[in-house]
Structure formats: C-alpha cells, structure tokens
C-alpha cells in the first residue's frame, strides 16, 4: 500500500512548515523537504519582478492524488505532502513545498524528483512571470 498524498492550494507563498508537519513521525528515518522558489531571472535573462499562479482547483487536488498514486506505488515512502501557491509569489519566496518521509533516503530522493516532474507536466496550475516591461504565461508550447 503506497502513501497517500496530502495536498492543498494556498494563497501566496508557502514556507514548507505545513508539508513537513504532515509527514512527521517516529517511524521515519529521513524527511526530504523540497521548496521550489521564484528566481529573479527568466530563462531568457529578463528580470522577474514576481510570479503569479492560477489553478483549476477543483481538478488540481485529484490530479495530484492520481500522480502520487502512480509515482509512489511500490515505493517505501511513508507519507507525502504537497502545498502549492496560487496568487502572487515574490522573487525569493517559495511557490511549492513537497515533503516526503521514509525509513531510508534513497526512496525519497527518487520519488521527489518524479513527483515534481509529473506535477509540472500534468497538474492544472499555471504560472505567469511578471517583468519590468510586461508578463508571460509559461507552459510547454505556449
């Protein structure tokens, strides 16, 4: 039986405290906390003032649960939690926090990487970079 994902969307930046608390327990030998943060430069070098996120909230939680069920199946991860921001995230602040607990570290490193890859490809969440001279919604093929 694989771990179920605890998930929530929150207004504004996240700090990881909620996600970490969700996976805490005496049976864990390690806890991995990943924070995705807003960086000051876009891929094309433009200065980013802030990020703005929108989500299809009614679908996001269920899609993330489906992703987690696939990624965590057969892995010895004890607990998983993911918190994602909607709204404004200033440069330097975190837009996503993922926490995983397991008895041993190899499981959480592999699972975290795969969960984030799938989130970026499937979760109905959209990011807009706001620059000094405009803004752009990001997304493959957009």
């Amino acid at each position: 039986m694989s771990a179920e994902l605890r998930f929530r969307l929150v207004a504004g930046p996240v700090d990881g405290a909620w996600a970490r608390a969700q996976v805490h327990g005496p049976d864990a030998g390690c806890t991995l906390l990943f924070l995705g943060t807003a960086r000051e430069r876009a891929s094309d070098g433009r200065r980013v003032l802030r990020l703005e996120y929108e989500a299809y909230a009614a679908m996001a939680e269920e899609e993330m649960r489906r992703i987690a069920a696939e990624v965590l199946a057969g892995r010895a991860v004890l607990r998983a939690a993911l918190e994602h921001a909607v709204g404004v995230v200033p440069v330097g602040a975190a837009s996503v926090a993922l926490a995983l607990a397991a008895a041993h570290r190899a499981e959480v490193f592999a699972a975290a990487s795969e969960l984030m890859n799938e989130l970026k490809a499937r979760a109905p969440i959209w990011k807009r970079e706001v620059y000094e001279d405009g803004s752009a919604w990001l997304g493959r093929g957009s």
Partner: protein, 38 residues
C-alpha cells in the same frame, strides 16, 4: 487539441479526457492550456 494556434488538453469532470472519450450530458468540460506549475 489545437485551438487558435495553441494546443489545449480537454478535461471532463475534472479529469483529463481520452481522445475517444464520450462527453456525457451535463459534464463539466474544460480546455486547459499547457500547464506550468511548480
């Protein structure tokens, strides 16, 4: 599916739809642009 020069995915009742999926009457249908969360 291509629409106005962009590719969208279709969700039916909060779940990505298969290309051959029938849409039941009253379903919530959403056209989703490429995602970019994280």
């Amino acid at each position: 599916m291509p629409l106005a020069g962009r590719s969208f995915r279709v969700a039916v009742n909060g779940r990505y739809a298969r290309e051959d999926e029938d849409v039941p009457a009253g379903a919530e249908v959403a056209f989703l642009p490429p995602v970019s969360g994280g």
